[in-house]
């Protein structure tokens, strides 16, 4: 089972670099999600790996084979990959069984009976036994999705590529299929690249997430890494909700904005420099106002808005002595009302310094 290596890959459309010197290492058997907003180059990257596009610079390796380099591109049909498309791309003129069996035609030395057996088994795996002779047009969206998965897995590809495969499903089915795809990945262990713009999907499905922006990887890591230790403002804001606080360092571990002082754990700030930190709303605590002391990380504030969300309450709190307005998420319980005074406790460990944007 080989891994995938992208080395400084660049793909331009006219003057615009859709992928701009992108490097990424996918370990054998690993599932990496390419996550980013539309136009970040994630689908272009996937199509470069599939061989539909040729890079202007850089190389793409699978195991010890160099598949793409400027002027030397192995065509898609000789890459031993499989791909699942946003539109499913099921052939409407073929039955479910014919769709799934198609890739097996190109496997040498498979008998007809062997092919039929593999198709049958694979349809069982995706819970579509008995649908062999249906046409794609006669299936529901979720069933079509499963056929697409079966068609890709039955050829036992070295690499599996998925291009936003769940974006055409309704919300409930989408959540169910996330777990299903993760289950299949654990069962088959195929090295996989998964393109999505949905951070929850990426978090559920992948071993690691590569966040893309403007054709480059800005951070790679596990879902937890990215959520708790975002390195840039972009990653912090793209993965989950966050409060971004801009200020100036007044000590190696302290940020100031107006009268507010925030201690930042594990930081080595340069006094006088501009500093940006990210604080997740659920890591801020609210306390009764009498608790307030004028020490760092305990801030007086006034509730601006309180929204009950069922499993949580979402507050907007204006911080005294500055122009800061923080989002705070608390478990449901005794609720504060707009206009009430409160105290915010921001744990120093929850303040994550961000580099650049």
């Amino acid at each position: 089972m080989p891994g995938i290596t992208l080395k400084e890959v660049t793909k331009r459309y006219g003057d615009v670099a859709a992928v701009d010197g992108l490097s990424l290492q996918v370990e054998p058997g690993e599932l990496v999600a390419l996550l980013g907003p539309s136009g970040c180059g994630k689908t272009t990257t996937l199509r470069l790996v599939a061989g539909f596009l040729a890079p202007e610079a850089g190389e793409i390796w699978v195991g010890d084979r160099c598949l793409s380099a400027p002027g030397a591109v192995v065509p898609p049909e000789r890459r031993r990959m499989a791909m699942i498309f946003q539109s499913y791309a099921l052939w409407p003129h073929m039955t479910v069984a014919e769709n799934v069996a198609y890739g097996l035609r190109f496997k040498k030395g498979l008998s007809r009976a062997e092919r039929a057996r593999r198709v049958r088994e694979m349809l069982q795996v995706v819970q579509l036994a008995g649908f062999e002779h249906r046409y794609p047009g006669e299936l529901s969206g979720g069933q079509q999705q499963r056929v697409a998965v079966a068609r890709a897995l039955v050829v036992e590809p070295e690499i599996l590529l998925l291009d936003e495969p769940l974006s055409n499903l309704d919300a409930n089915l989408r959540e169910e299929m996330r777990f299903e795809i993760r289950r299949l990945h654990e069962a088959f262990g195929i090295t996989t690249l998964y393109v999505t713009h949905d951070q929850a999907e990426a978090m559920v499905i992948s071993d690691r997430i590569a966040v893309l922006r403007a054709g480059r990887v800005v951070q790679v890591g596990t879902a937890e890494d990215l959520f708790l230790r975002p390195r840039t403002r972009f990653v912090a804001e793209f993965i989950g909700k966050t409060n971004v606080i801009e200020g100036r360092a007044v000590a190696r571990d302290t940020l100031a904005r107006g009268a507010v002082r925030l201690r930042v754990a594990a930081a080595d700030l340069e006094p006088g420099a501009a500093v940006t930190v990210s604080v997740r709303p659920h890591q801020v605590e609210l306390a009764p106002p009498e608790d307030a002391r004028t020490e760092p990380n305990r801030l007086r504030g006034t509730v601006r808005r309180a929204s009950y969300l069922g499993d949580a309450v979402d507050y907007e709190v204006a911080v005294e002595g500055s122009d800061l307005v923080l989002r705070v998420t608390t478990p449901p319980g005794p609720r504060l009302r707009p206009g009430e005074a409160t105290t915010l406790r921001v744990p120093p460990a929850a303040c994550v310094p961000l580099a650049g944007d």
């Binding site: 049909e77 791309a89 099921l90 052939w91 409407p92």
Partner: protein, 556 residues
């Protein structure tokens, strides 16, 4: 930067064929129009633009085309609104009749109207004289108004299609929103509906004018006997003895520029708002009740259909089965002699039917294949400069048949390719002329096939050509067969290029009809005309089967 592609030679050959097909005739046309034995010259243009006869032909053509456009809008726009938005009864039948008018060869319509409204023997005029005892005919079809009327009868479907398809996309909500705010019915029509269909009306007008400019058969049958020329008949006249191809070339260029300009104008009209705001596909449409106007409206529509279809077809059928077409109907006047004469005795007609069929089938087959290949290349961006291919494939829309024929005559009467005198030159003319029809149909077909369907097969191990064979071709089959049918219909009715390129051995049905008219063989013309109509309608039915919609339908 191009992915190395084993199928590359196939794409390149198809592209080069197209370039040669377009560049040769147009290149020769332009060159001959400015060349003389003593090098480059503008003398032909000077001659063209100073000769008062030619100036008159130019002016007549412009006036005629403008009137055709106006009459076509006056007929087509209300009809489109009536069938798309109101509770007019019999809409399906009306739509079929409009379709019939759309595919009727205009020169057949013109011929039928000679039998109906010729000043002396025309049936309508004789009826008029019998009823009133007057000496003067009621109408004379051999006149500019007569010409405009007959051409408009077969061009109003262009306006109709634009209007009906646009109105069918406008949700009633848009009109009801205005009504809720207090606008009356007329006010809604004037302030909401009309502005939304205005681009369609303008565009339909331009299409009708384009048709009228390019037409040869109707003016040849109606204007020449009346003693005046249009540009197309004048260009044809330059090829009669003694031939003056350089004058024909110089006279072709202004016509070509006019049609190119008009088409550009149409794009401009359609490209602005209008169609962009007309989006609601699933939106509800409620028919507007016509109330007391229902039957008067129906009567008007039926009168139009009688003029376009019922009367002409009737008079053709009558002529085909009568010993003398102008004599009263009766058993003693009934005969099959016209049929046996046309198909068994008269060698010119028999040969022409065979030539037409042969050319129809080969042109449609080669044309549909080439159009499909080119549309595929452009859709999947297989070659650099694929936009230029699409442009070239659609370019012949602006080339009137007569002009194309002049270019082809100049290009293929000299070495290395001497095609003149063979069926090949007609074949080349038809492939070129029908390329836009075939290309747009093929293009719509490939647009409907998601590229991911092909990519899915490639990733699994199928090469480009194998994907084309196993995935794309089966999915495109219906659309490409429809393209074949469209080309076939276009070829069997083609007159304006054939009339310049034929030789005695290579006559086709339309040319023979034209010749027979000079000889006064009305019975044989009617037989050939009906045969042509039967072939056309059989093909139209085939299209409906393969596309699952009629020929007039909006491309989705």
């Amino acid at each position: 930067m191009i992915v190395v592609e084993r199928a590359l030679p196939v794409w390149i050959v198809a592209a080069l064929l197209l370039v040669a097909l377009m560049a040769l005739p147009l290149g020769w046309l332009a060159w001959v129009s400015v060349s003389s034995e003593r090098g480059a010259t503008l003398a032909h243009y000077a001659a063209v633009f100073t000769d008062p006869r030619l100036q008159r032909a130019l002016w007549t053509t412009l006036v005629m085309a403008a009137w055709v456009g106006l009459v076509a809008v006056a007929l087509g726009a209300p009809l489109g609104w009536l069938t798309a938005r109101t509770d007019l009864p019999g809409k399906a039948v009306i739509r079929s009749l409009v379709l019939a008018s759309f595919v009727t060869p205009p020169f057949l319509g013109a011929f039928a109207w000679i039998m109906l409204a010729g000043p002396n023997a025309g049936l309508l005029n004789r009826l008029w004289r019998a009823l009133t005892g007057a000496d003067a005919p009621l109408v004379n079809i051999f006149s500019l108004p007569g010409l405009v009327f007959v051409i408009a009868l077969y061009t109003f479907p262009y306006v109709y299609v634009m209007i009906a398809n646009t109105l069918a996309l406008i949700a009633s909500d848009l009109e009801e929103a205005a009504a809720v705010l207090g606008a009356g019915r007329v006010r809604v029509a004037l302030t909401v509906t009309l502005p939304m269909v205005l681009p369609a009306i303008l565009s339909g007008f331009i299409l009708a004018v384009l048709q009228a400019l390019a037409l040869f058969g109707s003016p040849a049958m109606l204007a020449m006997p009346a003693g005046f020329h249009t540009v197309t008949t004048q260009i044809w006249a330059f090829f009669q003895y003694p031939p003056r191809p350089e004058m024909a070339a110089a006279f072709s260029i202004p016509l070509l520029l006019a049609t190119a300009l008009l088409l550009q104008l149409q794009k401009l009209v359609l490209g602005r708002r209008g169609f962009a705001t007309v989006g609601g596909r699933g939106a509800q449409r409620r028919p507007i009740p016509l109330g007391p106007w229902k039957y008067p409206a129906l009567a008007a529509v039926l009168a139009l259909m009688a003029c376009a279809i019922v009367l002409p077809y009737g008079v053709l059928a009558r002529a085909a089965f009568a010993r003398a077409w102008a004599q009263p109907l009766g058993w003693e006047n009934l005969t099959l002699a016209n049929w046996t004469f046309t198909f068994l005795e008269y060698s010119a007609t028999r040969g022409a039917v065979l030539n037409t069929l042969e050319l129809g089938v080969t042109t449609a087959t080669v044309g549909a294949a080439l159009a499909a290949l080119l549309a595929y290349i452009a859709n999947r961006r297989l070659l650099p400069g694929h936009q230029a291919l699409a442009f070239l494939a659609l370019a012949p829309v602006v080339i009137p048949g007569v002009v194309l024929a002049v270019g082809l005559f100049l290009a293929y009467t000299r070495p290395p390719l001497v095609l003149y005198g063979t069926l090949w030159i007609l074949f080349v003319a038809y492939v070129t002329k029908e390329m836009p029809v075939g290309y747009s149909q093929a293009d719509a077909t490939f647009r409907g096939i998601h590229p991911e369907l092909e990519e899915a097969a490639r990733v699994l191990g199928a090469g480009r050509l194998r994907v084309l064979r196993e995935i794309t071709a089966p999915l495109a089959r219906g659309g490409i067969i429809a393209a074949w049918c469209f080309i076939f219909i276009g070829v069997i009715r083609e007159l304006s290029a054939s009339i310049i390129l034929f030789t005695p051995a290579t006559r086709v049905m339309s040319v023979v009809i034209f010749d027979l008219k000079e000889e006064g063989q009305f019975g044989a013309i009617a037989v050939l005309g009906l045969t042509m109509l039967v072939m056309t309608f059989a093909t139209v039915l085939a299209v409906q089967k393969f596309l699952g919609r009629d020929v007039l339908g909006a491309r989705s």
